[in-house]
Amino acid sequence: MTEQQQRALAAGLEALAATTTSASASARVEDAVMAEFARIPSPQSHARPAASNAVWRAIAAMLMLACASGIWLAQRHTRPAAAAMQQAGFLEIPGTGYLPPLESAAIVRVSLPVTTLPSYGIQIAPDMTTESVDADLLIAQDGLARGIRLVNDLQRSGSTP
């Protein structure tokens, strides 16, 4: 870019910014936000002391472990391949239940935009800042992915399966 181009672009962007200086959300937005605030019954539910948070996290983790163990044990008898998949840390991709049973598989490492994770059954926190994440996909004998396993520290930064 030449200096003249840079100056012209800067002036244009400044003019573009000026067209929205008075733009703001409509009145219904503030009403909706304040209504949402009122909808939550106890103010204390907004704030939990750090110690209490830790306790709740521990309880949630124990419940998740118990659920995961239960699911694993239940599926172990009916779907050995799926159980083995979960044992290897893979989550079953939603909507793959109707596909033929897993006979053989290959693991392929890919980089996925974080925005695609919900389609794999992995929720992301609204304030998450990571853009992409490395994941292992379990590709079955028919070439279709059956499972996904995150390979970085995404879970610590806000995703939940």
Binding site: Q6, G12, L13, A23, H46, T116, D127
Partner: protein, 204 residues
Amino acid sequence: MTEVELEAAPDEVLVARIAAGERASLSVLFRRRQQAVYRFALHLTGSPAIADDVTQDVFVTVIREAGRFEAGRATVSAWLCGIARNFVRRRLALEHGTASLDDGAAEIAALVTDASALGDLTSTEAIDSLRRAVLSLPLRYREVIVLCDLQEMTYAETAETLGCPVGTVRSRLNRGRALLTAKMLDAQAHQAAISQPGMTRCHA
């Protein structure tokens, strides 16, 4: 805290008080920051309706997640825009598919090398054309152009918002501006071609 004191309180204090369940602090923070969030979403999507929805989603998230905000890690502005950015990306992914979010690789290969003078971009028509050009940028470049050039955020704040290093912000900004220049040169050349006397359109 009185109303006057609340109005003067830093954003971080307001967020802490929202986490403690104080409605008045939410009201003050909303009035102070909603415009920046709305404009950010508007520039990224070009849709006032989506910008409204995103602004609402952001502040509802603030109600629920205020207790998780860490004052030392980022400014409240950057936190809010970071949340807005994620909601915008979800909306755009839903409406256009994920493939269109970051498909700028081919365009980057054809970055401007044309040294032609860029005409005046401050006329009403040119601003409209520039707005369309910004909206057509791949999202990763659009975000930095909007934050740095349209909302005058610092590189550091932009980096906090996007969760990337400052160096990445600088390089994306350079590429985004180069892409914008190329698009505007194209638009101006096209406009000049169709406005030349004696030219006729082919309706074959």
